[in-house]
């Protein structure tokens, strides 16, 4: 009897679920539905929640300016839990909601299964925190784009800077075995190879620390003993902050350069300003540096709603993704996926986001993403470093 009751309960629950999941399709009138796939729970929750906030701000600004095609836009959030399996489910959910396009996601191995599903369903998706080459270079997608940069561009930038601008001979590269950090580290290593072959420098340290841990004393002692001229860490800001402080405590004096996952206000908080001061970061242009009208509005409204600008650059790319989609819709004068995709590939004139003009290459990467070397100032701000 109990079993039959349980089975019946499950059936009832299931029925309720189906009904609740019914699609809100974008019709001919009413708001244009767009989905945001982000890690609202899980290890990357902080990024996902900020991305959600960014997109909220961008939505408000766009709607205040009249929306697009004389319609407002509405954004639904689907949580991908910071892991690939839930990402696949989330992508399917977004597809079932029959939205016009998707913004997502954060983390390349999390984005990958979602990208496959969106491609299969011919739905436009714009990633904002996924920098692995293979998402575009290997897959050559038709409907996938990204507003963030790519690992090789960043790695190359670091390599050039370290050898040519800083004149470093002994280079240390550290990562944390995550998709992102290892990706950038590998690209940096690759970019340094011609210099190594020419005898201009040597990589004296290439190892990983374990993310989620707090004690890196063993690693920094080992690092210190290799006597590097420069130290590049491509992992996330929490570990970066801890690493730098522990390294300085252990007596390591060489300059520290973080990748664009380390650049975050919390890095300064964790490391302490006395240690963070002077640290460098490789980074695409920060929202605080761009001086367009949109970025002004964005900063103001974001500060108004949430107290301060987002502490990391990735949520801003999420906002950019929204601007990109809206701009493409405008230029294509249509909400059909194919039209939007074509516009994104070929016609992005006049489309501007929070970080400036947005244009995509034939395989969906953002065009002309410059990298800059940022420095932490004594009052805890990130400014472009003058060598």
């Amino acid at each position: 009897m109990r079993k039959t009751v349980s089975v019946l309960l499950v059936c009832m629950l299931a029925t309720v679920l189906f009904l609740s999941g019914c699609a809100k399709k974008t019709g001919d009138t009413g708001p244009i539905q767009i989905a945001l796939q982000a890690p609202i729970t899980g290890d990357y929750a902080y990024e996902g929640q900020m991305a959600k906030q960014s997109v909220e701000v961008a939505t408000e600004l766009i709607n205040k300016a009249g929306g697009v095609l004389e319609r407002q836009i509405a954004v639904t959030v689907v949580d991908d839990g910071s892991n690939p399996k839930d990402s696949a489910i989330a992508a399917q959910k977004a597809v079932s909601l029959k939205v016009v396009a998707v913004i997502g996601s954060y983390g390349s191995s999390v984005t990958e299964p979602a990208e496959d599903i969106y491609e299969k369903n011919k739905m436009v998706s714009v990633g904002y925190g996924c920098t692995a080459l293979r998402l575009t270079v290997d897959k050559k997608p038709n409907y996938f784009f990204r507003t963030c940069g790519r690992d090789d561009a960043q790695g190359l930038f670091f390599a050039k800077y370290a050898v040519e601008t800083m004149g470093a001979k002994l280079i240390a590269i550290m990562h944390d075995n995550s998709t992102f950090a290892k990706g950038v580290a590998e690209e940096a290593k690759k970019a340094l190879q011609p210099y190594v072959d020419a005898g201009k420098c040597k990589i004296v340290y290439y190892d990983a620390v374990t993310p989620g841990e707090k004690d890196f004393s063993a690693a920094v002692t080992k690092l210190r003993n290799t006597n590097p001229d420069v130290w590049y860490y491509t992992g996330y800001y929490t570990e970066a902050g801890l690493l730098v402080r522990q390294a300085r405590d252990a007596g390591l004096t060489c300059p520290f350069i973080g990748g664009n996952a380390a650049i975050n206000d919390d890095f300064i908080k964790i490391a302490g300003i006395d240690v963070a001061k002077g640290c460098l970061m490789t980074q695409e242009p920060l929202v605080t540096d761009v001086t367009t009208a949109i970025s002004e509005q964005f900063r103001t409204l974001y500060k108004e709603k949430f107290g301060d600008v987002p502490s990391s650059p990735w949520p801003v790319y999420a906002a950019d993704a929204l601007y990109a989609i809206v701009g493409a819709i405008k230029n294509a004068n249509s909400i059909e996926s194919d039209a939007i995709a074509t516009a994104m590939h070929t016609n992005m004139t006049g489309v501007e986001g929070v970080t400036g003009a947005i244009k995509f290459t034939a395989i969906g990467d953002r065009e002309d993403v410059p990298y800059k070397m940022y420095e932490v100032t004594a009052d805890g701000k990130y400014v472009v470093h003058q060598p």
Binding site: K3, S6, V10, L13, A14, L17, F18, L19, G21, C22, A23, I40, T41, A45, Q49, V77, V78, D79, G81, N83, P84, K85, D86, A88, I89, Q92, K93, V95, S96, S108, S109, V110, E112, P113, D116, N121, A132, R134, D138, K139, N177, S178, T179, K182, G183, A208
Partner: protein, 638 residues
């Protein structure tokens, strides 16, 4: 009984027994339920409000159901604490991914291959650690899980793609039909699961499944009943790993890309929860548990960052209110039909008669095989008429000598009693004879064969059975299931035979039940056959243990204090039974304290004190032996 009836009985939805009105519904319950389930399953993807999203959820429920079922074998059936099961899942997924992307081996071929590799891997890594107890095994499995995951991340030999994992994995292709839509994957996965579940149900109700349960209930007792505990534990791990490998293959071929992030310790914990939520050892429970674990976070999506909070809460509430699981395995009251064995005589009397042993079986065997067990050749000269002899057997525990140079002679067809004050070392001697301890020196010969260093289950299969001083039954199993462990070691059917229900296997199973029925009836417990052993009163539990020992068809029956805890009347009944056993052809070796029993039925008595033999002879001689009296009562003050 029809197949459907069988299946439903086994999963606990069998015919209601008792005086309930027989309606169309109750009579055809089996067919109707199966038909409804089948119809819902087939129609599911085509229902109007089911989008690809929900079909994909059903796919993931399938993958996790398979994982749950695979862990259920290890954790639910055998009771091994496995918190690293994703290691095998990962291996299945990576084998599929690597071989498909580099060598372009078709996914469908990789399905069994993943199972094989995962199973092989399990065999290799668990063999050295399978003897560890409980929590120690737990941490080792956690370690294995982490080692596999971290190795994948570190990308040795550039094989595993590091933290990025591997992408571009193809989909399965069934004889030309490419499986790539959600609906196709749904049917593909669930049909595979259906086949596997069918096999698992068969396995659950076979000798293998019962052996697993015996190990879970009491591993020492299982070993002493002739179950090769180590082999069965390994089998469980290998099978569980193989099924997890299949799940890995399914996952990889659907996702088209895999990365180490899907194979964390948290996943292993989730699998653990699935098995527990469903009910340990319950096949439908594991499937239901998977459904809850996958669907619950989806249902609560609208709560955004709080959904996991609710999930944690739900787990705790489940354990408070339904700790046995949502669909616990039902044992009590399913009756003999619940055993799932075909071809049993309808009549109880016929069944019991079927189990009556052939008298030739019990006389000490000199032929090469007994009931299918091939014995080693007879090589050791033994004194005439002796069944068992120990020569100079000694056991030292560090500085303490528990048994010192003991020569025991057990004559065929007679009752020998070993007596002595408490702590003399009697049980220790028995433990050495049955292989639980290894003697420091000395030899033990049985039927002309040297059995000194053999494992207990082997010794049992040669024809020695024992009972324990502290009764060791399988408490949560029914009485008949308890006894069915006896004939276990003489049967030959393996996993394949069990799943395929070969003619030989069906016959063996029938024989096992019949033998158990006979022995149960012999000790007067037939009416308790479907009761759980733990519910029996103490005295009856003793008899149950004796019946179990008898069911192994031994030549020599070793009883450790069989009359302890029995009152005078019960002791008299016991003596009658023991003498009847001798008439039947058994040889008995007893440890006893009850002098009535010793004097009443023994043919020969040996006395042990402080590990040494201090006297031996006919009961009446021992009774008056001064040294023996001193050993028990102490010396008189002069």
């Amino acid at each position: 009984m029809g197949i459907t009836e069988n299946i439903l009985k086994r999963i606990g939805l069998g015919k209601p027994s008792g005086d309930k009105p027989v309606t169309f519904w109750s009579r055809n319950r089996g067919w109707l339920l199966l038909a409804i389930t089948g119809a819902v399953f087939a129609a599911y993807p085509f229902l109007p409000f089911i989008s690809d999203y929900w079909i994909d959820i059903a796919f993931f429920v399938g993958v996790y159901a398979l994982l749950g079922l695979s862990l259920n074998i290890v954790l639910g059936e055998v009771g091994l604490f496995d918190l690293g099961h994703t290691a095998f899942y990962a291996i299945g997924a990576y084998v599929t991914a690597v071989l498909n992307t580099t060598l372009h081996i078709p996914i469908i071929v990789l399905l069994p291959l993943s199972a094989l590799v995962a199973g092989g891997f399990a065999y290799l890594v668990t063999s050295p650690v399978i003897h560890l107890k409980g929590d120690y095994l737990c941490i080792v499995t956690i370690g294995i899980g982490e080692i596999v995951r971290l190795t994948m991340i570190n990308n040795p030999f550039n094989l595993t793609g590091g933290p990025n994992g591997i992408n571009g994995i193809g989909g399965p292709n069934l004889l030309g039909l490419a499986i790539n839509s959600s609906t196709q994957f749904y049917f593909y996965t669930w049909i595979i699961i259906g086949v596997i579940v069918f096999g698992l149900i068969r396995l659950q109700h076979s000798r293998i499944g019962r052996a697993w349960n015996y190990i879970r209930e009491d591993a020492t007792a299982a070993e002493a009943s002739g179950v090769d505990v180590r082999s069965y534990k390994l089998l469980a791990f290998v099978l569980g790993a193989a099924l997890a490998g299949v799940a890995g293959n399914l996952y990889a071929s659907k996702q088209m890309s895999i990365s180490p992030g899907s194979f964390t310790f948290i996943e292993s914990s989730l699998l653990f929860c699935i098995v527990l939520l469903g009910g340990l050892g319950s096949i439908p429970g594991s499937i239901l548990g998977a459904a809850v674990v996958v669907v619950f976070p989806e249902v609560f999506r609208q709560f955004a960052s709080y959904r996991l909070l609710f999930f944690g809460l739900a787990l705790m509430l489940m354990m408070i209110f339904r700790p046995g699981g949502m669909w616990p395995r039902k044992r009590e009251g399913t009756g003999l039909d619940g055993l799932g064995i075909r071809g049993l005589p309808k009549n109880d009397e016929d069944l019991i008669l079927l189990g009556k042993p052939d008298p030739a079986m019990i006389k000490p065997a000199t032929t090469a095989t007994v009931r299918g067990v091939r014995l080693p050749p007879v090589t050791v000269p033994m004194d005439e008429g002796m069944l068992l002899q120990t020569h100079g057997v000694t056991l030292k525990f560090g500085g303490l000598t528990a048994v010192n140079n003991f020569d025991l002679n057990v004559r065929t067809g007679k009752i020998t009693s070993l007596i002595g004050p408490n702590g003399a070392g009697k049980t220790t001697l028995f433990n050495m004879i049955t292989g639980i301890y290894k003697p420091t020196s000395g030899k033990i010969n049985f039927l002309g064969r040297d059995i000194t260093n053999l494992k207990p289950h082997t010794i049992i299969s040669y024809g020695i059975a024992r009972t324990f001083q502290n009764i060791r039954l399988f408490p949560s199993l029914t009485c008949i299931e308890n006894i069915m462990s006896g004939p276990h070691c003489h049967a030959r059917s393996g996993t394949w035979a069990a799943v395929m229900h070969t003619v030989a296997e069906v016959r063996e199973e029938r024989d096992i039940v019949a033998t158990a029925a006979y022995r149960l009836d012999q000790v007067g417990l037939w009416k308790y056959r479907n009761e759980l052993a733990k519910n029996l009163p103490y005295g009856k539990q003793r008899y149950l243990e004796i019946a179990r020992a008898l069911a192994t068809a031994p030549h020599l029956l070793i009883l450790d204090e069989p009359s302890s805890g029995l009152n005078d009347r019960e002791s008299e009944d016991l003596m009658v039974l023991l003498q009847a056993l001798v008439t039947e052809g058994f040889t008995l070796l007893l440890i006893e304290h009850d002098m009535q029993v010793v004097m009443g039925i023994s043919d020969w008595v040996a006395v042990m004190d402080m590990g040494q033999k201090i006297a031996e002879g006919l009961p009446k001689d021992i009774y008056n032996n001064q040294r023996v009296i001193e050993a028990y009562l102490g010396k008189e003050d002069d």
